[in-house]
C-alpha cells in the first residue's frame, strides 16, 4: 500500500478525531439528517465518567452527560424550562398548574409566567421544591426543579438533600418506549429529584429515599397485585443506585435511542386530554386523533424548536421578529406567507382550503380553531381531564367523572388577537383573605386544614362542599385569623364571605372570574368542521356555538346549578345574533327569490342586448324597415 493511499484512509479518522476532541473548538455536531447514534459514556454532575460496577457508582447526570456535546445552558432557556425566569416574555396564556385539593374545595390556577388569572406559586408561599413535589410528575425537569446556587446551599431548604431535578432530555427525545414517567412520580414522592433520569429510562434501580418520611416498599406501581407484598413492612432503605449492567457495553457506554423530533407519544406524556364524563369516557375508543397525526405528521412538525428549545407555539402574531414562525401557523402552512414562500401554500403537503360559500368576515372574526379544533360544541361543554391537571399517564385507579379540577371545553372567547377562539376554562375555587382595599390572597389548603380539619372531614371530601360547610369554615377561619382580615371563599365565580352579623353573603370579584386558555387540538378535518353542515350550525337560535350554556362547575356547585351564557364569554350581542339567526329560517326562500329576480333581470338585459345587436346590424348592414 503506498503512502498516498494510507493518507486517504487516515483522513476521515483524523477529521473525526479533530472534531471529537474536547476543547474550545465548539459544539460537536454531525449536521446530518440522520440522527447521531448516541452510544455514549455516562457522566456524573462533576463530569466524571460512571463505572456501573463501582461499589458506589456515581449518579448519572443528564446535564453532565449531554452537556459534553450540547449547549445545555441555551437549551435550559427553552419554553419548557424557562417559566421561572423573569426575563422571559409570558406569551399567550396557556394551561396553568392547578393546585387541587378536594377536601378543602381548592382548584387554584398557578403559573410562574404571570398569566392574568393565575397565581404565582412563589407569592403563595409554595417553595420551588414543594412545587416539584406537587407537579414534578409532569415537569420535564429544569425550571423550578433547578434551584440557584444560593438556594442549593441553604440548609433551610431541602435541595441539598433532594438535589436538583435536571432537565430530562429523554422525556422527549428517547425514541423507544422504555421511558417510564411513572418512575418520575415514584422518585419525586421520595424526594429523589436527582435520581429521576436513571429511574425513568430504566438504566438502573434507585433504592431508598432522601426523604426520611418516605416509605420505600417498592417503586413498582403494580406491586399491589402481589399478595406476597401485602404483609411486607415498608421501611427506610439507604439510598443507592444499582445500574442495569446489561445496558452498558464493554466500554461502559450506553446506547440511547434518541431522536431529534419527539414522537407524539412523548408529547402526550404531559399534553394528553381525557373526557371524564362517563358517557364520553366509555366511548373513548371512538375518538379520532388530530387530523394532522392521522395524516402522518407529528407534533414537532409544527411545534418546532432549535437548540434554544424555544418551542413554536403555532399561533398567529407569536413573534414579529421571526417571520418564519408565521409559516407554522394554520394559516401560514395552508395558505403560505409572503415573507418566506412568496405566498406559496401547501407546506408539509397541507391542502389549500377553499372555504366555499363562507363569507370572508368569518376569517377576520374567528380563529381557524373555532371551526376546526376541539369537540363540536354541544348544549353544555365537556368536562375534561388533562395530564398536567389530573396526572394522566400515571398508574392509578381513576374514578370516572367528577374529578377535580373541573375543566370545561369548548368555550368561545376572544383570543389575544380579538378573534373568537375555543378555550378551556376553569372556575377558580380557594379560601382566601381579603383586605379592606378588596385585594384577595389565597390561603393554601394545608393552612385551611390546620384550622378546620374537623369540619372539612373525609366525608365532606366525598360529598363536596355545601353552603353550610362553607359558612362553618368561614366562621372558624375568621376566628383563627388574628390579623383581622376577612376570610372568604372564592368559588362559582363569586366570593363568599360572612358579614359582621354573621350572615352569609356573596359578591363578585375579578379573582373569581374563570381562567381560560386557548385550545388548538384535536384538529378536525374540513368535513367535520363546525359549519360543514350549513350556516345554521351556528346561525340558529338554539346553536350551542352562539347560545350554549356554560355551567358554573366548582366544588360548591354541581353541574346545572348555576349557568352562564356563552355570549357572556364570546362578547357577542345575544339580541342581535338571535335576530340574525331567525333570518336564516327564510334564507333558502330568500335565495330562491333572489335568483329568480336576478335571472329575470339578466334575461331582460339579454333580450334587449340582442335587440341592440340587431339594431347595430340594421344600421351598419343596411337592411330593412
Amino acid at each position: 500500500m503506498n503512502a498516498t493511499l494510507w493518507k486517504l484512509l487516515l483522513l476521515p479518522v483524523l477529521l473525526i478525531a479533530t472534531v471529537a476532541s474536547p476543547g474550545d473548538e465548539g459544539i460537536l455536531q454531525s449536521n446530518s439528517q440522520r440522527p447521531y447514534s448516541h452510544r455514549i459514556t455516562l457522566y456524573d454532575e462533576e463530569g466524571r465518567a460512571i463505572d456501573p460496577q463501582d461499589r458506589e457508582p456515581g449518579l448519572f447526570s443528564m446535564m453532565g452527560t449531554c452537556g459534553k456535546c450540547h449547549d445545555v445552558s441555551t437549551i435550559s432557556s427553552g419554553w419548557h424550562f424557562n417559566a421561572v425566569r423573569d426575563s422571559v416574555e409570558k406569551g399567550r396564556p396557556g394551561e396553568p398548574w392547578i393546585l387541587t385539593d378536594r377536601r378543602t374545595g381548592t382548584q387554584l390556577p398557578m403559573s410562574y409566567r404571570g398569566w392574568k388569572g393565575t397565581w404565582n406559586p412563589d407569592e403563595l408561599g409554595i417553595s420551588r421544591s414543594e412545587f416539584v413535589r406537587l407537579f414534578g410528575r409532569h415537569l420535564p425537569g429544569g425550571g423550578p426543579g433547578v434551584p440557584n446556587e444560593e438556594a442549593m446551599d441553604d440548609p433551610d431548604t431541602s435541595w441539598h438533600a433532594t438535589g436538583p431535578m435536571e432537565i430530562d432530555c429523554n422525556a422527549c427525545h428517547l425514541r423507544d418506549r422504555s421511558y417510564d414517567p411513572s418512575q418520575r412520580q415514584a422518585q419525586i414522592e421520595k424526594g429523589n429529584f436527582a435520581y429521576v433520569s436513571i429511574a425513568t429510562m430504566g438504566m438502573g434501580i434507585v433504592r431508598g429515599s432522601v426523604d426520611e418520611s418516605a416509605e420505600t416498599k417498592t417503586d413498582d406501581p403494580l406491586a399491589m397485585f402481589d399478595p406476597a407484598l401485602e404483609d411486607a413492612q415498608p421501611g427506610k432503605v439507604s439510598l443507592e443506585i444499582e445500574y442495569d449492567l446489561s445496558r452498558f457495553d464493554a466500554d461502559d457506554r450506553v446506547f440511547f435511542d434518541l431522536t431529534r423530533k419527539s414522537s407524539e407519544e412523548n408529547c402526550y406524556q404531559c399534553h394528553s386530554r381525557h373526557v371524564s364524563e362517563p358517557e364520553w369516557a366509555s366511548r373513548s375508543h371512538y375518538r379520532d386523533e388530530d387530523v394532522h397525526l392521522d395524516a402522518g405528521l407529528s407534533c414537532t412538525d409544527c411545534h418546532r424548536n432549535g437548540i434554544a428549545h424555544d418551542m413554536v407555539r403555532g399561533f398567529e402574531d407569536e413573534s414579529d421578529a421571526d417571520p418564519f414562525l408565521q409559516t407554522l401557523t394554520c394559516r401560514g402552512c395552508h395558505y403560505g406567507t409572503e415573507e418566506t414562500a412568496n405566498g406559496r401554500p401547501g407546506r408539509l403537503g397541507s391542502p389549500l382550503p377553499d372555504h366555499h360559500g363562507i363569507p370572508p368576515i368569518h376569517f377576520e372574526k374567528m380563529s381557524c380553531t373555532s371551526c376546526h379544533s376541539g369537540p363540536i360544541p354541544e348544549e353544555n361543554p365537556q368536562i375534561i381531564q388533562t395530564s398536567m391537571s389530573h396526572g394522566l399517564g400515571l398508574a392509578e385507579f381513576q374514578t370516572p367523572g367528577n374529578k377535580m379540577p373541573y375543566i370545561q371545553q369548548p368555550v368561545y372567547i376572544p383570543g389575544h388577537d380579538g378573534k373568537l377562539t375555543p378555550h378551556r376554562l376553569l372556575w377558580p375555587a380557594f379560601w382566601a383573605t381579603q383586605l379592606e382595599d378588596g385585594s384577595i390572597t389565597p390561603i393554601l389548603p394545608q393552612t385551611v386544614l390546620e384550622n378546620a380539619a374537623d369540619i372539612l372531614t373525609e366525608e365532606i371530601e366525598e360529598q363536596g362542599l355545601d353552603k353550610t360547610t362553607v359558612q362553618q369554615v368561614l366562621e372558624t377561619l375568621n376566628a383563627a385569623d388574628s390579623t383581622g382580615r376577612d376570610v372568604v371563599y372564592v368559588s362559582s365565580g363569586t366570593v363568599h364571605s360572612l358579614e359582621e352579623n354573621g350572615s352569609f353573603v356573596t359578591h363578585t370579584h375579578p379573582v373569581a372570574e374563570p381562567y381560560a386558555w386557548p385550545l388548538a387540538h384535536d384538529v378536525r378535518p374540513a368535513g367535520r368542521s363546525l359549519g360543514a353542515k350549513g350556516c345554521q350550525e351556528c346561525h340558529a337560535p338554539d346553536s350551542p356555538f352562539m347560545f350554549g350554556n356554560i355551567p358554573v362547575i366548582s366544588p360548591t356547585s354541581g353541574p346545572g346549578e348555576a349557568v352562564r351564557a356563552m355570549t357572556d364569554f364570546s362578547g357577542l350581542d345575544e339580541a342581535y345574533h338571535t335576530t340574525f339567526a331567525e333570518g336564516f329560517r327564510y334564507r333558502k326562500a330568500f335565495k330562491v327569490i333572489g335568483f329568480i329576480a336576478g335571472g329575470l333581470l339578466a334575461m331582460l338585459l339579454l333580450a334587449f342586448s340582442v335587440r341592440a345587436l340587431i339594431h347595430l346590424s340594421d344600421r351598419f348592414g343596411g337592411t330593412t324597415s
Binding site: P360, G598, L605, A612
Partner: protein, 187 residues
C-alpha cells in the same frame, strides 16, 4: 381585488348601460305622462336603494371595518325590497326607456335606467352566488367587490331616473286635472 379591477368593472357597467340605452331597438312611444301607480315601484325601489346605501356608508367612509350588526340586517331588508321591486320596474319601464322617437323620459334618465338595471342585476346575482357553496374565499372577495360596484352604480344612476319618473308622474297628475277641468268647461 385591485382598484384597477374596480375601475375596469365600473367602466364596463357604464358602457353597457349607455350601449343599451342607445341601441336597444327603436320604437315610437307616445310622449305621455306616467300614471301615479306606475311611478310608485321606482320610487319604492329608490328608497330601498337609498336605505342600502345608508347602511353601507359607515363602511364606505372608513368609519367601520365591516358591514355588520343591525346595519347588516337593515341592508338585507333593503336588499329584499330591491329583489322584489326591480323586476317590476324593469318590466314596466324597459320599453319606455328604449331610444324612442318620443319617449317621455329625458335622454339622461334613459341612459341611467339601463345603467341601474345592470348594476342591480350584478348586485343581486353576486349576493346570491356568495350565499351558495360555489365561490371560494378569493371569489368571495371578488363577489363582494362586484356587489359593491353594482350597488353604487345603481343607486347613483337610479336616483336620476326615479326623479325623472316623479316629475312625469306629477305632470300626469296635473294633465289629468287639466283634462278634467277642460271637460267640465266643455260641458
Amino acid at each position: 381585488m385591485s382598484s384597477g379591477m374596480d375601475w375596469i368593472v365600473s367602466i364596463a357597467v357604464c358602457a353597457m348601460g349607455i350601449a343599451l340605452s342607445q341601441l336597444a331597438g327603436k320604437r315610437f312611444v307616445k310622449k305621455a305622462a306616467i300614471p301615479l301607480p306606475t311611478a310608485l315601484p321606482p320610487i319604492l325601489l329608490f328608497l330601498s336603494l337609498l336605505l342600502s346605501l345608508v347602511t353601507i356608508l359607515p363602511n364606505e367612509l372608513g368609519l367601520a371595518e365591516h358591514l355588520s350588526g343591525y346595519l347588516l340586517i337593515a341592508h338585507m331588508v333593503a336588499g329584499a325590497g330591491i329583489i322584489f321591486l326591480t323586476p317590476i320596474v324593469a318590466i314596466l319601464f324597459c320599453s319606455l326607456c328604449q331610444p324612442c322617437i318620443a319617449s317621455p323620459f329625458q335622454q339622461a334618465a334613459r341612459v341611467l335606467f339601463w345603467l341601474s338595471l345592470i348594476g342591480i342585476c350584478m348586485a343581486i346575482l353576486t349576493a346570491m352566488i356568495a350565499m351558495t357553496p360555489l365561490a371560494n374565499t378569493d371569489w368571495q372577495h371578488r363577489l363582494i367587490t362586484f356587489h359593491r360596484i353594482g350597488g353604487l352604480v345603481s343607486i347613483l344612476a337610479f336616483s336620476v331616473f326615479a326623479g325623472n319618473t316623479l316629475i312625469l308622474a306629477r305632470r300626469g297628475k296635473s294633465n289629468h286635472a287639466k283634462s278634467k277641468f277642460q271637460a267640465r268647461s266643455d260641458s
